[in-house]
């Protein structure tokens, strides 16, 4: 355990004075609530109100907010991915990944601390998402609905899994490609291509396996919350039935990414 904190402290020394890290982290911290506020403002003012009730319901009220904010934050997951790619490819550009090993780290220690950093960043962003949920939940609270509605808190966990999936894909591309610009390009290309394959597979060829592709399966953990009222209860129960499968496959992808990234770093020429 002492060794773990010692290694973590060294990673902190690398980040403490790195301005780009602080800028990108601040952008994430600001954008999650700001983007949610834009959506909140849009949903609140752009749809007709019937008997004082919004057509879309109250997506930013408890308990719906636990689903709405993570869903919106999910759209911004490319931001932490950019941060991860930047930090990891820096080690390659400066060749410090070699120097850290030469100076006395094992390859395993180096790659494991990077994976732990991804976990910690995911945890940090999840905390931002929770705070954003609480802010909007209390902002839209009415006297008749005073409680925080913890029953939908599970979406926070689903967000954690979704972000971990995205972040580990980013780490994987960073390690494989080694150059920041190219790795980001390939990462975005992959996201677009997967969405294209999913649309094509689902709508044209009527195949279901596309639902289990890495990005799609983690996206499916948090369904689109705004048209809840228009979707039939049957669809909702079908999603509920599939959640354990989506979750298991998303976690399986996380395990596979960790395994591949660790294995490759331990075996490759650095």
């Amino acid at each position: 355990m002492r060794n773990f904190f010692h290694t973590l402290r060294i990673e902190w020394l690398k980040l403490k004075y790195y301005r780009t890290f602080w800028i990108l982290l601040s952008v994430i911290v600001v954008c999650i609530p700001a983007f949610n506020y834009v959506i909140y403002d849009f949903t609140d003012n752009s749809f007709p109100k019937i008997n004082g009730q919004n057509l879309l319901g109250n997506p930013f009220s408890f308990p719906n907010v636990w689903k709405t904010v993570p869903y919106n934050a999910g759209i911004l997951l490319f931001m932490p991915a950019i941060l991860i790619i930047t930090l990891f490819t820096n080690e390659y550009s400066y060749r410090t990944h070699r120097q850290n090993i030469i100076d006395g780290w094992s390859r395993t220690r180096f790659i494991h601390i990077k994976i732990i950093e991804v976990f910690l960043l995911t945890l940090f962003v999840t905390v931002i998402v929770i705070l954003t949920c609480l802010y909007f939940g209390f902002l839209t609270r009415t006297p008749s609905q005073p409680k925080a509605g913890w029953q939908e808190f599970r979406f926070i966990f689903y967000f954690f899994v979704e972000m971990l999936d995205y972040s580990l894909i980013a780490l994987f591309f960073a390690m494989l490609i080694r150059r920041a610009g190219l790795a980001m390009g390939i990462f975005f290309l992959y996201m677009i291509v997967e969405q294209f394959v999913v649309s094509l597979g689902r709508n044209k060829y009527k195949v279901t396996w596309v639902d289990y592709l890495p990005e799609e399966v983690s996206d499916r953990l948090i369904p689109q919350p705004f048209t809840r009222r228009m979707i039939s209860p049957a669809n909702n129960s079908l999603w509920e039935k599939h959640v354990p499968l989506y979750l298991s496959i998303a976690v399986l992808y996380i395990i596979i990414y960790i395994f591949i990234v660790s294995w490759r770093f331990r075996k490759a020429d650095l």
Binding site: Y17, Y94, R95, Q99, I102, L270
Partner: protein
């Protein structure tokens, strides 16, 4: 005595290109061990393997008589190829990372920065340093924690003549302090001045290894001149141990099978035979010529 580093049949290939072919040698304790070879001969690949940044395709190596480990590397100061530091951090902060990885006291940073004359620039970012300063910082990083073994790969790259001389002095001082130094270089003059032992690589093959004198035997000859060259030739022909005599204008080049005789004795000998020498010089083949001769012989 257990060698500091022992290599056994190290193989390494990059696709079809075999960078190292069955390289084996030992680095004795307390030596300044030069790894010599032209560019692309496999020197850096070899050091990359023993520092665990490259994976070998065969063979094994040991440090201090034990299988390699991260703990051992913390006791070795290594500069491999280029200085590798975080560009956005100052020298001080970069060395704090090195000290933390090596588990050495941060207090040692001041000493090593002063040693390489970078203390006044310790708070400047690495990216503002000149090539020579970067190289000196890398050497400072190697010296953190006063390791007993140092590995330098082309340590004088980017340094000016004064910087090269300084590093040479530093290596000699460190060696005098009992440290083992492994030095990869293609600069033979540099190696000649500091190394006690060498391993010579060519196209991934170890040509020779051992102490400098036996591995790179440098031929010696004498040059003699006199007003009476014919008489001098007669005397030299009768001299025991002479291998060949080459006439070179106003003097003879005399090569010996055994070590060349003492020039003082030779001068007296000629005088006793009735010849006064007007030119007498002992010559030695340069290390560069010996190296080229050796590598050419292997190529042929």
């Amino acid at each position: 005595m257990t060698p500091i580093l022992s290599l056994k049949n190290i193989d390494k290939s990059y696709g079809r290109i075999q960078a190292l072919k069955g390289v084996s040698f030992d680095v004795p304790q307390g030596s300044v061990f030069g790894i010599l070879g032209p560019n692309g001969s496999g020197k850096t690949t070899l050091l990359g393997i023993v520092m665990d940044v490259l994976a070998s395709n065969g063979g094994s190596y040991s440090w201090f008589g034990n299988p390699p480990s991260e703990k051992q590397r913390r006791e070795i100061g290594t500069l491999l190829e280029t200085p590798n530091f975080y560009h956005y951090l100052s020298a001080q902060h970069n060395l704090e990372i090195t000290a933390a990885i090596k588990q050495k006291p941060v207090a040692d940073i001041e000493r090593v920065l002063k040693l390489v004359r970078l203390y006044e620039r310790k708070d400047s970012k690495f990216q503002t340093y000149s090539l020579g300063m970067k190289q000196r910082l890398a050497i400072a990083s190697c010296l953190i924690g006063n390791p007993s073994v140092l590995v330098f790969d082309e340590p004088t790259n980017g340094l000016d003549p004064a910087g090269i001389a300084e590093i040479r002095e530093l290596i000699i001082d460190l060696s005098a302090g009992g440290k083992t130094i492994i030095l990869a270089s293609h600069l033979l003059a540099e190696v000649e001045k500091v190394c006690t032992h060498v391993a010579i690589l060519q196209q991934g093959v170890l040509i020779k290894s051992g102490d400098v004198k036996s591995a790179l035997s440098q031929e010696e000859w004498m040059e003699l001149g006199s007003a009476d060259m014919e008489k001098l030739k007669e005397i030299l022909d009768r001299l025991p141990g002479v291998n060949k005599i080459i006439s070179s204008g106003n003097h003879f080049q005399v090569y010996f099978n055994a070590p060349a005789p003492d020039p003082g004795w030779l001068n007296v000998h000629c005088f006793e035979q009735g010849i006064a020498l007007n030119y007498l010089q002992t010559r030695k083949e340069s290390l560069e010529s010996a190296f080229i001769e050796l590598t050419n012989n292997v190529s042929n």
